[in-house]
């Protein structure tokens, strides 16, 4: 998302152009003759007739100080005195700062005061915003005159108005100097095309480019104290109302719930006691069930081992701890024992825990294996009583 572009799209419908008379510009560069001039101007583009333009170098860097110096000694830079001056820093080199200066004519200032725009751009300043900065000439054929603009490599602008291109163009190039001799020339053949190009320059400009031309300042002279007081009071009331709703509503609901809860507790006292008893008993049952859930019945496990391994192996030692079983013994074929046990569904991880060895006397495999009983296995009744009668 290009924020400057969005900003400019929002600003564009209220762009005006002031050369000799103010006109409203449509988004496509067409002059809107029927648009009311007092509808609220946000950007005002000044035509060449509304200002005087020059460049100057100063041995100081602070733009405020430069502006103060120019304001003090206007006669040195401009043919008239004015209250509205725009400065734009071009570059700083060898402790000298080069600036573009635009002196707005007093007649234009009156109109600017009436229109009260947020940003005032001299038209030639817009050309210097376009990237890339490289020496170029713009020749714009307008309805009544010819505008010639030169932008140098650093973005400094010089311009002139002419009536006849054939003679005045060469004069302008000579006045600019060697930089204008071999640079590219861009031509615009109609006023509409020109305005469209200006609006395009505005759209492509970054927010920081507007800073030197930003004109809105708080007007403390005409500060409307009663209105400001009323605004602050209204804002305070609004904030207070919002805060009251934001904090008061949950608190009111909370108090209401406390009362409702107390009333329900009184009415359902007996039932609530019983429910608390039920919860307590259920927790107790869960505690009692824990040892049962963790226990692996040993008789079914031993029966399973007897039925599975009997005849295939002799168990010499066996350890059963929780659900882990380790067996050591001899067998004519230990792999058969392993595969038989692996097929039992209630156990898992059947594996040899030591390498197989051969008994020299009997020739049988000496094995050592382990497995785990799956959780909740062998929970069915233990089966036939090995004593043949009820055990006690």
């Amino acid at each position: 998302m290009n924020l400057p572009r969005l900003f400019m799209q929002w600003m564009n419908p209220l762009v005006m152009y002031l050369d000799k008379e103010p006109v409203s510009l449509g988004s496509d560069g067409v002059i809107e003759t029927d648009a009311p001039l007092n509808r609220g101007c946000r950007i005002l583009i000044l035509g060449k007739h509304a200002y005087f333009e020059t460049t100057a170098a100063f041995p100081i860097t602070d733009l405020k100080e430069i502006k103060a110096a120019v304001t003090m000694d206007q006669a040195m830079y401009a043919p008239f005195a004015t209250d509205l001056i725009f400065l734009r820093k071009i570059f700083r080199k060898n402790e000298h700062t080069l600036v573009n200066i635009w002196f707005v004519r007093p007649s234009a200032i009156n109109i600017i005061e009436q229109l009260a725009p947020w940003i005032v751009f001299p038209e030639t300043a817009l050309w210097s915003l376009a990237e890339p900065h490289q020496s170029r000439l713009h020749v714009i054929s307008r309805k009544d005159d010819l505008l010639m603009v030169h932008v140098d490599d650093d973005g400094a602008v010089r311009s002139s108005i002419a009536e006849d291109e054939d003679t005045d163009f060469e004069t302008f190039k000579r006045s600019v100097g060697p930089a204008a001799q071999n640079c590219s020339v861009e031509r615009l053949e109609s006023t509409r095309e020109y305005f469209k190009a200006l609006l395009s320059c505005l759209s492509d400009a970054s927010i920081t480019d507007f800073y030197p031309f930003f004109r809105w300042r708080p007007d403390f002279k005409n500060f409307n104290t009663p209105f400001a007081k009323l605004s602050i009071l209204s804002l305070t009331i609004l904030i207070f109302l919002y805060g009251s709703i934001w904090a008061g509503l949950p608190y009111w609901k909370y108090r209401q719930l406390i009362q409702e809860n107390e009333k329900l507790s009184e009415n359902l006292g007996d039932v609530l006691d019983k429910q608390a008893q039920i919860e307590s008993i259920q927790q107790e049952i869960q505690q009692l069930a824990k040892p049962f859930e963790a226990y692996t019945p040993k008789l079914p496990l031993l029966n399973m081992l007897y039925q599975t391994i009997s005849g295939k192996a002799t168990i010499k030692r066996m350890t059963i701890a929780a659900n882990f079983v380790e067996i050591g013994g001899t067998s004519p074929q230990a792999s058969a024992v392993l595969s038989t046990l692996s097929a039992v569904t209630d156990i898992e991880n059947v594996q040899l825990t030591a390498p197989l060895k051969k008994d020299r006397k009997t020739g049988q495999d000496i094995f050592s294996l382990s497995f785990r009983v799956k959780p909740n296995s062998f929970l069915e009744p233990a089966g036939v009583d090995p004593t043949g009668k009820d055990g006690d």
Binding site: P250, I281, L288, P291, A382
Partner: protein, 188 residues
């Protein structure tokens, strides 16, 4: 006098003081209020759940009573598997030892050694003992059957069997636990 001092203070200092007051107000007024509001909202949500639960009980008095009775019966059934209301777990260990000795005597099993192991504590307390017997496989299976079908729950936690060459009997080590609880112990 105050307006005179105010005039002497620079604009930057005024702005700094204003920002400082805003930050202090944010930290010590706004943030605590936000925390308080969050706390109230959480409490209200919790209370709402409690109220909803209580409302759902209206008209179910009979069912609650029935569930309570069923729960009491179920608990009693579970309690039958455990030793209850004995003065201390050592008594359970002694009782379990006597029960084991009686069983082994009845099954002609020779008991060579008995040890009391440390208690397993919790709401339900385990009282384990370890004993070493010499027996035949058949009698050993009968012993296991008798233990796992005893009137109270007895868990055989560990079995360790080792045999000797050319012998019909083997040595078995068993860790056996009796479980129980008493109000006095569970409150400790």
């Amino acid at each position: 006098m105050i307006s005179g001092i105010s005039r002497q203070i620079s604009g930057r200092l005024k702005a700094g003081v204003l920002i400082l007051f805003i930050l202090i107000g944010f930290k010590y007024i706004l943030m605590p209020v936000i925390d308080w509001q969050k706390d109230i909202v959480n409490r209200a949500i919790s209370l709402q759940q409690s109220v909803d639960r209580k409302k759902s009980l209206i008209g179910l008095e009979g069912q609650v009573e029935k569930v309570l009775q069923d729960s009491i019966i179920l608990r009693e059934q579970w309690c039958q598997h455990f030793e209850t209301n004995l003065p201390d777990p050592q008594t359970w260990q002694l009782k379990l030892q006597k029960q084991m000795e009686e069983l082994t005597q009845k099954l002609n099993i020779t008991t060579s050694n008995v040890d009391w192991l440390p208690l397993v504590k919790g709401r339900v307390i385990g009282a384990p003992i370890k004993f070493r017997v010499k027996t035949t496989p058949e009698n050993f299976m009968k012993l296991i059957y008798a233990l796992e079908n005893a009137s109270h729950f007895i868990a055989i936690e560990r079995i360790n069997i080792s045999t000797r060459r050319r012998s019909d009997t083997f040595i078995a080590e068993l860790d056996v636990s009796a479980y129980g609880f008493s109000e006095a112990l569970s409150n400790q």
